[in-house]
């Protein structure tokens, strides 16, 4: 049933479904995660409500709060400890290019 729910989510949100998590229990299905826009939260709920077999749908999806560059920098620094990036290599042209 969970795969059916995921397919329904993917069908209505083919680009942004990746930020939504699903969990099921005896009481029904719960949606969690963070999205950018209210329409994404509403579509996710609609997708599941169209599947009565899932039971009650609880929509706990949050709308992502705005960030500033300082918060982004901090997150990048945390990631960089795990693996440095390759920005220079992407910028460089291939040696064979004229």
């Amino acid at each position: 049933m969970e795969s059916t729910a995921r397919e329904a989510l993917h069908a209505l949100l083919p680009c942004s479904h990746g930020s939504i998590r699903l969990s099921a229990d005896a009481g029904g299905t719960t949606l969690r995660g963070e999205v950018d826009w209210p329409y994404q939260k509403e579509r996710a709920e609609s997708a599941l409500r169209a599947l009565p077999a899932l039971g009650q749908v609880r929509n706990l999806i949050a709308i992502r709060a705005p960030v500033d560059a300082a918060a982004v920098r901090e997150r990048i620094r945390q990631d960089r400890r795990l693996k440095p990036g390759s920005v220079r290599a992407w910028a460089a042209r291939r040696a064979a290019q004229p």
Partner: protein, 152 residues
């Protein structure tokens, strides 16, 4: 760029599907901005899951085009500008280069920063994705500056 434009483009990707959107945008980049497309594709390939990062980079480019009076109004990145960006990264280091680009993005186009952060947050490599967005932004900014200087 307005919040409404950002939501409109997000809906476009969810309505048409990411594959159709990326195909269209990559074709437009191939015509108007081949150097930038090559940078985006190399970034996406390096991040390990080529399709997903390319969706983000294509959406980023689409947002910039959406605000431009015409697609041709976006600067066309030249090989010389690309080489200049490499020298800038060598001079500053990747981290400073990335942070400066993100600071400028926040100052000049804060909605782009929100889009970039939101997209990168659901990728395996937040760092890599943000570096990709910063690189595209910084390269277009550098080309824009070079074009303006050339007019005078």
């Amino acid at each position: 760029m307005t919040e409404a434009t950002r939501e409109r483009i997000s809906r476009e990707f969810d309505n048409l599907g990411p594959v159709a959107c990326v195909t269209d945008i990559a074709a437009a980049m191939r015509r108007h901005n081949p150097e930038l497309l090559d940078m985006a594709q190399r970034c996406a390939a390096d991040l390990g899951a080529q399709h997903e990062p390319m969706v983000g980079l294509a959406m980023f480019y689409r947002l910039l085009v959406a605000e431009a009076p015409a697609e041709l109004a976006l600067p066309r990145v030249s090989p010389a500008t690309r080489d200049a960006i490499v020298r800038e990264i060598d001079d500053k280091g990747a981290e400073r280069f990335t942070f400066e680009a993100l600071d400028e993005m926040e100052r000049a186009n804060p909605e782009l920063l929100q889009m970039a952060h939101g997209f990168a947050s659901r990728q395996r490599s937040y760092l890599g994705m943000m570096q990709g967005f910063a690189l595209i932004y910084a390269t277009l900014s550098a080309q824009s500056a070079a074009d303006r200087a050339g007019m005078h």
